[in-house]
């Protein structure tokens, strides 16, 4: 019995999934200011509905981190960076960092060690800070300097928490890792207060199920791990509904999913049953981070989008003045058009008719205008799809073969969820000339997604046979290679071993592991190949838990 909870802007949704079937669904208002109250109300309603508190697990998709960032309810962070030579990164960071000596180069050589006196000075400057973030360039190739600085800061400042850059992501991008580390430290206290309250409230209700937090990449993190990496809990709303779509309607065809809400529509592209990820990572408050997230396109079009005439021209969205006139709203909306066009039955059809009359000209019938409105809405969505496909087609590739044999993404199937999907998706699919699905319970796809999201974790293993060592940044390890004849196959095996270790330490079942990226290059010195550098990323395949035996 998997319980999923999604805290949205308007509603907190709950869903219970047993053996791949949704057995309970609840919707309660989100309690802004005190999200926990709404969450507990949803839990109580679910418990009343299913008559049991024996959940296998509870997975929470929450805006607690997002809200903290929006409201600025974050802590001052002592941000220490070791940028070494290169770009002046300061302007691209959310706060002024303290720059320390210390430099690891691209091969992982430690070319300059940090200085303790500088760290002492940094701690003096950050004496008001209870949380620190420490990030060094190429620390994922060798974490020794980050670890040394962490130890000194610990001794000197005794902060409540330190986030280190190589811990938040194992992939290259110092700027993104630094921003991730900063935000992680900034929301650490706020999230931990929330996590403690959740744990206490569940205990008080006699609910002993393990709690997981949904991540922006659709994976889940045990609450205990989320306490260390709270920034992972950002942007989980869209991820939840995307996962819900996957759960309700698995398809391998290149597909497009639409979550059409009141004000906005979120679009995602799918390949081989998984959504495509954002290049590099998500952007937080305008700053690039290394947080893995689905690549979503959000457009200002939904059921409540305003329909108006601007200098005689019919305009749809992106404004929302209120709900549809059919349910007592102030002005004509897309939903009113859907009612008049007999796409949905909802509210008062007469009021919807009146709404369309308001925007009709030249003796148009309300039905004619309604069709025009829906056409315009479909055109707006199509344009967003074209932009996404163009962006996908322009994604840089670094091999000749990928340019010569590169295939274009063509949408073959559309899946629609959300309140307004039923009225628009069939039209859109017709326009695109593809098939479509409108999964049942699409209205709570987000909560279902949270319920069934599989816990995942990924690692980056990099072996340098010339240097004779390998690193796994996420584990902070740098170990000697046992053999000089180390191959990519050996790297995969070693990667699986460490991925298993990491998963076990986080209480994550191994499930299906997969190689998501791998490359191998020669190292040549003086016209002789002296070794190889190989990098591979492995992960526990994200996805959904639908079968009982798979559950935790």
């Amino acid at each position: 019995m998997l319980l999923g909870l999604d805290v949205g802007g308007t509603f907190t949704d709950g869903a219970v999934v047993v053996d791949g079937k949704v057995v309970s669904v609840v919707k309660t208002p989100t309690t802004h200011g005190d999200l926990l109250t709404g969450i507990l109300t949803a839990i109580d309603q679910v418990v009343a509905d299913v008559g049991s508190t024996h959940f296998t697990r509870i997975a929470l998709s929450t805006t607690v981190v997002t809200n903290a960032l929006i409201k600025g309810d974050i802590d001052q962070v002592g941000l220490c960076i070791m940028p070494g030579p290169g770009m002046n990164i300061k302007a691209a960071l959310p706060v002024e960092p303290y720059v320390l000596s210390g430099y690891i180069d691209h091969r992982g050589h430690n070319l300059a060690t940090p200085r303790q006196d500088e760290v002492v000075a940094a701690c003096r400057q950050f004496k008001k800070c209870n949380v620190f973030a420490i990030s060094g360039k190429f620390s994922v190739r060798n974490p020794c300097n980050e670890l040394a600085v962490t130890q000194w800061v610990q001794q000197q400042a005794h902060p409540d928490h330190i986030t280190i850059g190589s811990g938040v992501a194992g992939t290259l991008n110092f700027l993104r890792r630094t921003n991730s580390a900063y935000y992680n430290a900034a929301v650490w206290r706020h999230f931990n207060v929330f996590a403690t309250a959740v744990t206490a409230a569940l205990k008080a209700r006699g609910i002993g199920a393990p709690v997981y937090i949904l991540k922006a990449d659709g994976g889940t993190l045990p609450l205990l791990m989320a306490r260390e990496y709270p920034v992972e809990a950002i942007f989980t709303g869209p991820a939840a509904s995307v996962l819900g779509i996957m759960a309700m309607n698995p398809t391998m065809a290149p597909s497009l999913s639409l979550d059409i809400g009141g004000t906005t529509t979120d679009l995602a592209l799918w390949q081989n049953g998984v959504p495509l990820f954002a290049e590099g990572g998500a952007s937080v408050g305008g700053f690039a981070t290394s947080l893995r997230a689905f690549r979503l396109s959000s457009i200002g079009l939904g059921g409540d989008s305003l329909v108006q005439r601007v200098e005689g021209v019919l305009k749809v969205g992106p404004k929302r003045l209120g709900p549809a006139m059919a349910v007592g709203g102030p002005s004509p909306t897309v939903t009113d058009a859907m009612i008049v066009a007999e796409r949905i039955a909802f509210g008062d059809a007469k009021l919807a008719m009146k709404a369309m009359e308001q925007v009709a000209i030249d003796g148009q019938t309300p039905r004619e205008v309604a069709d025009m409105v829906l056409d315009a809405a479909v055109t707006i969505i199509s344009q967003a799809i074209d932009d996404m496909l163009a962006q996908q087609a322009n994604k840089p590739v670094y091999r000749v073969a990928d340019i010569v044999h590169g295939t274009q993404f063509t949408v073959k199937h559309v899946i629609g969820v959300g309140g307004s999907a039923v009225g628009l998706v069939p039209l859109l699919a017709g326009h695109l000339g593809v098939t479509y699905d409108l999964p049942k319970q699409g209205m709570v796809a987000n909560a279902i997604g949270a319920a069934v999201a599989r816990p995942t974790v990924d690692i980056t293993l990099r072996a340098d046979t010339v240097e004779g060592y390998y690193t796994v940044a996420e584990l902070g390890i740098k170990n000697k290679l046992q053999t000089h004849k180390f191959t990519l196959t050996d790297a995969y095996a070693l990667g699986i071993k460490h991925l298993t270790e990491l998963a076990t330490s986080r209480g994550i079942p191994l499930g299906v592991t997969e190689i998501i990226q791998s490359e191998e290059f020669n190292v040549v010195q003086g016209f002789r190949t002296v070794g190889k550098i190989m990098t591979c990323r492995l992960q526990i395949k994200p996805g959904v838990l639908m079968n009982h035996e798979e559950a935790l």
Binding site: P85, G86, M87, H106, V397, V400
Partner: protein, 439 residues
């Protein structure tokens, strides 16, 4: 739309190599990729990354005459690299970015108009293909190419040697001491284009100081005089003090300041083989400078191994600057004299060596010096090599603005030679009609 500062076509061609241990090997830009990604440069709002498209054979044939045809001498990697350079040009010309850097391989500046194979790691000339593309598609007129690779850009020089609309400036390590052994101060262009080829051979041991003296006192003033519509930088990075194939002492700062001064519209990667200790820093420096960002912190970790410039080197540099300043000052006079001396036709005869394949080519060029137009060019080429055999061709090149008389005279000349039957292939590269024909 607000134009971003820099368009970056990054195409490291991780699956292309001349051979696994060759300087042009798969991992040449691996460490550069690592540095660019690690810095977070691709996330900077002032930098927009572009993906290469594939150039078409017809794009190549605007420049090259392959024997027997260019398509049989290249791989897909060459089409992607040239296409990447063209994508950089498109981004600038469409106004999407202020300038662009094509960080692509394979390189191209040793590839000449006639192509029998690969020389100096190059088979087709990416910059020349882009220049002719710019002229064809965007109607660009005057172009300046500044070649900052340590090796003389003999291919680019060859292609534009008779073109007064294209200023080719190359500074490089003196040809007495380095491949390809050309690029001396007396190579100035054929009579009607005299002075629009400007070579600056620099002594081994030249540092940032010498390089920037050359820029300040020669390159920048000449560019200001020439007033090009567009400036292209053949941005080789093998002048670096750690380069294994040459002996110059330029640093990442030297290169970044060069990029900052030059303000090239489009820069194109050429050589640079210190792939681990130079390229990551030099490329980051150039990218930051072209994007208008702070590059002052791009300093190699081993900078203290870079020596100072010896006094003798400084003196030699100053002498070359004065020599070429004088030439530039009186180029109109030199041009008139050379044209008068040559009469109706100008002839040259050269041996060209293809180091990759051991091919020896003998080539004669005959330029029609037409008083009404840019005339035409006749080329006879014969190439020998063990394992290569023998290949020959006779070709005419009709200039873009050729007069009717020159257009027919060029074709007649090839027909006349064909009747004698000495060569294997007969071709007309007709720039007036934008086509390459086999006769």
């Amino acid at each position: 739309m607000d134009a971003k500062k820099l368009g970056l076509v990054f195409f490291p061609a991780f699956d292309w190599a001349i051979s696994p241990v060759h300087p042009e090997r798969e991992e040449r830009l691996l460490y550069t990729r690592d540095q660019i990604v690690e810095e977070g440069l691709l996330d900077m709002p002032s930098i927009q990354e572009y993906k290469p498209s594939m150039a078409k054979i017809s794009d190549l044939e605007r420049v090259h005459i392959g024997v027997p045809d260019i398509g049989s001498l290249i791989t897909n990697a060459h089409l992607v690299s040239a296409g990447g350079v063209m994508a950089a040009a498109d981004a600038v010309m469409r106004g999407e970015v202020q300038r662009a850097f094509a960080l692509t391989r394979p390189p191209g500046h040793h590839a000449m108009r006639i192509v029998h194979g690969t020389r100096g790691f190059c088979t087709i000339n990416n910059e020349a293909i882009m220049v002719e593309y710019l002229r064809k598609v965007y109607g660009v007129g005057k172009v300046a190419i500044v070649d900052t690779d340590v090796h003389h850009g003999d291919g680019t020089q060859d292609i534009f040697y008779h073109d007064a609309e294209t200023l080719f400036i190359s500074f490089h390590q003196d040809g007495h001491t380095l491949y390809p052994g050309t690029g001396f101060t007396d190579e100035l262009g054929s009579p009607q284009a005299l002075g629009t080829t400007l070579n600056i051979p620099l002594p081994p041991g030249t540092t940032d100081e010498g390089l920037h003296t050359v820029l300040d006192h020669l390159v920048m003033p000449v560019l200001a005089d020439f007033k090009p519509d567009i400036i292209i930088n053949s941005a080789g990075q093998d002048n670096h003090y750690s380069d294994p194939l040459a002996n110059m002492k330029i640093t990442a700062q030297g290169y970044a300041r060069l990029a900052d001064k030059l303000q090239a519209d489009i820069a194109v990667l050429e050589g640079g083989y210190s792939i681990e200790t130079a390229l990551p820093y030099v490329n980051v420096g150039i990218i930051l400078a072209m994007a208008g960002m702070d590059y002052s912190k791009v300093i190699e970790p081993d900078i203290n191994t870079c020596p100072a410039q010896p006094a003798a080197v400084t003196r030699a540099i100053n002498n070359i600057i004065v020599e070429q300043q004088n030439m530039w000052g009186k180029r109109e006079k030199l041009r008139r004299e050379a044209t008068a001396k040559a009469g109706d036709f100008w002839h040259s005869r050269r041996n060209i060596f293809y180091d990759e394949q051991g091919i020896n080519e003998q080539q004669t060029e005959t330029v029609r010096l037409c008083p009404k137009c840019a005339g035409y060019l006749l080329i006879a080429t014969e190439a020998h090599g063990s394992g290569f055999g023998y290949k020959s061709a006779y070709a005419a090149v009709i200039s873009r603005g050729a007069c009717p008389h020159c257009r027919s005279a060029a074709v007649d000349a090839v027909h006349k030679v064909k009747k004698q039957g000495k060569y294997q292939h007969y071709l007309v590269q007709n720039k007036y009609e934008d086509k390459l024909e086999k006769l």
